[in-house]
Amino acid sequence: MMKKRTRYDLLIHFILLSALIVVILPMVYMISTSLKPNGALYEYPPRFLPSIREVTLENYRYILGQGKFYINFCNSIFVSVAAVLITAFVASALGYVMARFEFRGKRFLFAFIVLTMIIPGLTLIIPQYELAVKLRTINSLEGLIPFYVAWTIPYSTFMIKGFVENVPRELDEATYMDGGSVFTVFVRVIMPLAKPGIASVSIFNFLTYWEEFPWANTVINDNMKRTLPIAISGFFGQHQFTQWGYVFALSAFSLIPILLVFIFCQRFFVAGLTSGSVKG
């Protein structure tokens, strides 16, 4: 019995591992290409891995030697972190009020929030562009932030509302008994208890901002204000020659923060994704 079980287990591990290889193959290829000398990219026969002698950090040296990529990197960090913090606060406040209080227009507000989760964000790009013009935030890095926040509020509010509902109401009552106000409950009870939820939503938002491409590409002009995804796509001349080595070196470089966040916060990713779904 035991033996059959182990063999069965081994078979499943084998299937999982083989599928896994296929899944991570593209990423490995990206890294391996970034380690090849630029001239070898149209070599024949094409090889998955460079030979040991060939391995070079030349592409990385070039990327890191260009000051502008640091600036692009910093721009991405700045925008993403600022938007994460603002969204976390705004959406928590909304989620808290919606979970705990009745007020006029609440049903409408909630329905509207759910509805906007359905609309593909990009369809609003034209009026939002017009709005950015009016607010004079075209070609402004800070100008990206309110739009990013607005896009992620619906999802974040929806999720955080769910987390707040899981916080026992008795704790609110106890705080009110002690003379606490709505604010006190928010700061002392809700925020601390819903924190894992807020954290998971924030991580998810960070990913969204970090990789956002179409909007930033449309409104940002100056090289020095570009975020990383635009910098990466800028390498890419359709019909001229593309320096794939540089492209992939910069790509690998831009994955580092995401990987760090992911590895350290892996548990919360999952919590955030699933709580909404399991409740249905």
Partner: protein, 293 residues
């Protein structure tokens, strides 16, 4: 609970930033979009936009390019949504059935999800190049094809690559969602099934799937929206070429707005897509609620 005036103030203050941001940056654009869709609004009419009623809508619906793009979007959704759900569910089942390395698998299978669309698209474009690694592998290593397959050069090839990318990138998300759902299936149901002498397949269909129906519907709604949201991959991989045949609704909308300058047309197009998705979502939400009620 009676709400004091002070509390009302505080509730209002908490609502204010969210409602304000939401109102200015989402609600206003939605209304503006609706208005623009009724006007002739393009590069050449910066000064005086003309009210033209439903003309933009007519133009969109009769436009062959839009029809192609719309069909492409639907096909993309029809292929990628079941594709990633099935594979994601399969992986989740497998991971659920092993005892070791669960976390390791989960992390590694999730990697494509956290890779940005720009990067993933570039990698796929490189791999699926006519002279790329995949064609070399197919023709010279496993000898399945005789000649290099022209993946990126025609409508079906280009869409296929985008679909591969969509599925590849989506498996991890589905895996995590279903893995969590599988934890919620009550153990005693399986035990009851065991007593009845049910096999693995019957357990899957009579116990597992019904128990996670809510999750399946949730994933279905989210992914359908996601399917119509596809933009970056198409823009990066084919750019809509050849001759706009691989455009999807959003890339075509973007082209009409920012390359051809037809803002009114694009606004009408956006609105049509929103309505289509809203209808789809309402249908799907209703399905969900039926399960609850």
């Amino acid at each position: 609970m009676r709400i004091s005036n002070k509390s009302k103030w505080q509730i209002g203050l908490l609502l204010l930033p969210g409602v304000l941001i939401f109102g200015i940056f989402t609600l206003y654009p939605i209304l503006k979009l609706l208005i623009m869709s009724f006007f002739q609004w393009d590069f050449k009419s910066i000064a005086g936009q003309q009210f033209i009623g439903l003309d933009n809508y007519k133009e969109v619906i009769q436009d062959e390019y839009f029809q192609t793009a719309f069909v492409n979007s639907i096909l993309y959704t029809l292929v990628t949504v079941p594709g990633q759900m099935f594979l994601g569910f399969l992986v989740a089942m497998l991971i659920n059935s092993v005892t070791k390395f669960k976390v390791g698998y989960r992390v590694l299978y999730y990697l494509p999800v956290i890779t940005s669309w720009v990067i993933a698209s570039l990698v796929f474009k490189y791999v699926f190049n006519t002279e790329g690694l995949l064609n070399y592998f197919l023709a010279n290593v496993v000898h399945i094809t005789e000649q290099n397959v022209r993946w990126l050069d025609n409508r079906w090839g280009g869409l296929t690559v985008a679909m591969f990318l969509g599925i590849w990138k989506g498996i991890g998300w589905n895996m995590v969602v279903f893995l969590a759902a599988l934890q919620t299936v009550p153990r005693d149901l399986y035990e009851a099934a065991n007593v009845d002498g049910a096999g693995a397949v019957r357990k899957l269909f009579s116990v597992t799937l019904p128990s996670i129906r809510g999750t399946i519907l949730f994933a279905l709604v989210m992914l359908t929206i996601g399917g119509f949201n596809v933009f970056t991959s198409i823009k990066m991989i084919t750019g809509g070429e050849p001759a706009h045949k691989t455009d999807v609704v959003l890339t075509w909308m973007y082209y009409k707005a920012f390359s051809a300058g037809k803002f009114g047309y694009s606004a009408a197009l956006s609105f049509i897509i929103t309505v289509v998705l809203a209808i789809l979502a309402v249908i799907q939400f209703n399905l969900m609620q039926k399960k609850d009620g």
